[in-house]
C-alpha cells in the first residue's frame, strides 16, 4: 500500500535516475542511486555551512576565523538559520528515502554489543548478518534524525527571539533552547568525525559509493555480507574464500 509520501519519494528517485548515471563495472555493485547521492551531498553541504557558521556563534573567541567565510559574525549569524532549515529539509527527504533500510533489528543490537571489539580489534570480515546498513550507521542515522528535530525546534525559538514568547517565559525558553541546540551540535560534531573517517580512510572503497554509486564486490562481502547475499544470491563467505584462493594461485 503506497502512501502519498511513498509516491512522492518514488517520484524523486525516478527523476534522478533518469538524469543521473552510475559507474558500475564488472565485479562491482550499485550501492547508492543518484537520488540518494544528491540528497547526501545536499545534506552534507548545508551541514558544514551550518556547522562553520555555528562555530562563530558558539565560541567566537576561539572560532572567529570561520566567520569571514560568511562575511563576518553578524552575517554568519543571520545566515546560520537558513543553512539549518536547508539541512533539515534535505535530511527530511533522506529520511523518507532511507526509513525502510534504517529499521532497527535484532542484528543491529548484536552489532552494537560487539562495538568495542569492532573498534579496537576488528574482524577482517563483518558478521554475515550485517545488511545494507550496519548497527553503527543506523545509530548515526537516528541520532541525526532526533538531533535535527531538536535543532529545528530550539533553532526556531532562538530565531524568532525571546520577546515573542513574553517577557519572562521567553527568556527561560531561549536559555534552555540554546543549551539543547549546542548539545545537539556537539553530538553531531563528534559523530561526523567518525562518519568522515570510516567513509574514507577507515574503510577504503566506501567513498566511491557516494560519488559514482558503486562499490566492489569484495567491499560488499567484507562490510555488508547480508546485503551482498541479497543482491547477488551468492554466499558472501564462499565468495570471499574463492577470491582468496584465486589470489593465492595468482592471476590466470
Amino acid at each position: 500500500m503506497a502512501t502519498a509520501v511513498d509516491r512522492f519519494d518514488d517520484k524523486g528517485r525516478g527523476l534522478f535516475d533518469r538524469i543521473g548515471t552510475n559507474d558500475v563495472y564488472q565485479g562491482e555493485l550499485l550501492r547508492h542511486r543518484p537520488y540518494t547521492r544528491v540528497l547526501h551531498w545536499m545534506v552534507a553541504l548545508f551541514f558544514f555551512l551550518a556547522l562553520f557558521s555555528g562555530f562563530g556563534i558558539y565560541l567566537p573567541w576561539l572560532f572567529r576565523w570561520f566567520t569571514p567565510i560568511f562575511g563576518g559574525g553578524a552575517l554568519a549569524r543571520s545566515m546560520h538559520p537558513w543553512f539549518g532549515v536547508a539541512f533539515c529539509f534535505f535530511f527530511g527527504l533522506q529520511v523518507l528515502n532511507w526509513l525502510e533500510a534504517m529499521r532497527w533489528t535484532k542484528v543491529d543490537s548484536e552489532w552494537i554489543r560487539g562495538l568495542r571489539n569492532q573498534v579496537l580489534k576488528p574482524e577482517k570480515l563483518e558478521p554475515p548478518e550485517t545488511g545494507f546498513f550496519n548497527g553503527g550507521q543506523k545509530v548515526q542515522f537516528w541520532e541525526i534524525l532526533i538531533g535535527s528535530v531538536v535543532f529545528l525546534v530550539t533553532g526556531i525559538i532562538l530565531w524568532v527571539g525571546a520577546p515573542t514568547f513574553g517577557p519572562t517565559l521567553g527568556r527561560i525558553i531561549v536559555a534552555i533552547s540554546y543549551v539543547l541546540h549546542d548539545i545537539s551540535a556537539l553530538i553531531m560534531l563528534f559523530g561526523i568525525f567518525i562518519h568522515l573517517y570510516l567513509s574514507t580512510f577507515g574503510e577504503p572503497g566506501t567513498f566511491h559509493s557516494m560519488t559514482r554509486g558503486s562499490v566492489s564486490e569484495a567491499w560488499a562481502w567484507t562490510f555488508h555480507p547480508a546485503w551482498y547475499k541479497q543482491v547477488t544470491s551468492r554466499d558472501p563467505r564462499q565468495a570471499h574464500e574463492e577470491a582468496r584462493r584465486q589470489m593465492e594461485t595468482g592471476p590466470r
Binding site: 565560541l59 580489534k121 577482517k124 532562538l158 519572562t168 527561560i172 534552555i176 561526523i192 567491499w219
Partner: protein, 295 residues
C-alpha cells in the same frame, strides 16, 4: 588636555585572558536617579536621548495613554512607561517611569554574550555595547531581565542606552539628565544618589502618606546604576513591568563558562580518536588483501 578622562574597563564579554588596564585607576561608580514621584511625563528626556545619540525617527504608537510607544526600540533607548493605576480606594494614580538600560552591576546581557568585546562594563558601572564586535545572536536579549537590548533588522546588531558613556567619559551628565525640567532625574556617584533616594523615600513615607515608598535597586543582580524612587516599592511591576526580583538564567554562567569549552573539547576528541585509530589499529580493507610481504 590634562583633564581628559577615559573610561576604565572592568569586564569584557566572552573575553579570554586578562582585561587590559584593569584596576589601573580607581573610579567612582556613577548612578542615575529617577524619582518617579516627580516625573510629569513631559518626555524631554526621550527627545534629548534621540537628539544626542543622533537616532533616526522611530514611529510612535498612540494607545490612549501618554506613552510614546509600547516598548523601547533599537533607535529609541529611553521611554516613559505610563500606567493609569487604580488604587484600592478607587482613586486613580498616574505612574510614570523612565524605562532604559539599568546598567546592572552584574549584567545579564554581558553574561549571555558569546562575542568577545561586544559588551563591556566600565569600572564606573556603565554597560556599553560595541556594535563592531556584535554578531547579532540576540542572546543578550534573553539575558537581560529588563527587556532592554533591541535588535536592528537592517544592521543585524543590537543596541541600547549607553548611559551617554561618551558624555560621562568627558565629565558631563547624560543627555536625559540635562533635559529634565523637574529635577526628577539626577546623576552622580552611586553613593550620593542612593543617599538622596533614601532621603526622598523617607520624606514620601513620613510627610506625603506613601507608606510603602522606597528605592528600587535590586540586589539580586548586585544593584543597578539606574535607581528609582517609587511610591510603592513593594509593587514595582505596576511601573510598566519592573521586575521585583530580576534574575539571569543560570545556564548563561554554567553553560558558557564551564560546559561549552569542556564539551567542545570532548567533541574534538572525536577527531583525535579517529586519527589515532588510523595510525594504531589501522583501516579495514575489503577482503581478501594481497598477501603481506615477509619481513
Amino acid at each position: 588636555m590634562s583633564d581628559r578622562r577615559t573610561l576604565q574597563i572592568k569586564q569584557i564579554s566572552a573575553h579570554p585572558g586578562p582585561i587590559p588596564g584593569e584596576g589601573v585607576q580607581r573610579d567612582l561608580e556613577v548612578c542615575k536617579l529617577v524619582d518617579t514621584t516627580t516625573c510629569i511625563g513631559c518626555k524631554a528626556c526621550e527627545v534629548a536621548c534621540v537628539e544626542w545619540n543622533d537616532m533616526p525617527f522611530t514611529p510612535t504608537t498612540f494607545d490612549n495613554t501618554y506613552q510614546t510607544m509600547p516598548e523601547t526600540a533599537w533607535s529609541f533607548w529611553n521611554l516613559i512607561k505610563f500606567n493609569e493605576h487604580e488604587r484600592e480606594d478607587g482613586t486613580i494614580q498616574w505612574l510614570m517611569r523612565k524605562d532604559q538600560c539599568m546598567h546592572c552591576a552584574d549584567p545579564g546581557c554581558l553574561r549571555a554574550c558569546p562575542a568577545d568585546g561586544a559588551i563591556v562594563q566600565y569600572s564606573n558601572g556603565i554597560v556599553d555595547f560595541n556594535q563592531e564586535n556584535c554578531i547579532g545572536c540576540e542572546f543578550c536579549v534573553s539575558g537581560c531581565p529588563f527587556n532592554i537590548p533591541k535588535f536592528n533588522q537592517t544592521t543585524k546588531k543590537v543596541y541600547k542606552c549607553t548611559l551617554c558613556s561618551d558624555r560621562v567619559g568627558q565629565g558631563l551628565e547624560p543627555a536625559c539628565i540635562k533635559a529634565c525640567p523637574t529635577g526628577c532625574l539626577k546623576f552622580g556617584s552611586k553613593e550620593d544618589m542612593k543617599f538622596i533616594a533614601e532621603e526622598r523615600s523617607k520624606q514620601l513615607r513620613e510627610h506625603f502618606g506613601y507608606k510603602d515608598a522606597g528605592v528600587y535597586d535590586p540586589q539580586s543582580i548586585g544593584g543597578t546604576h539606574v535607581i528609582y524612587v517609587l511610591h510603592d516599592a513593594t509593587r514595582p511591576e505596576l511601573y510598566g513591568g519592573l521586575p521585583k526580583d530580576p534574575q539571569i538564567p543560570w545556564s548563561y554562567t554554567v553553560w558558557k563558562w564551564l560546559a561549552k569549552p569542556v564539551l567542545g573539547t570532548l567533541a574534538l576528541f572525536g577527531l583525535l580518536g579517529v586519527c589515532l585509530h588510523y595510525v594504531t589499529v589501522g583501516p579495514r580493507k575489503p577482503q581478501p588483501e594481497p598477501p603481506r610481504k615477509e619481513r
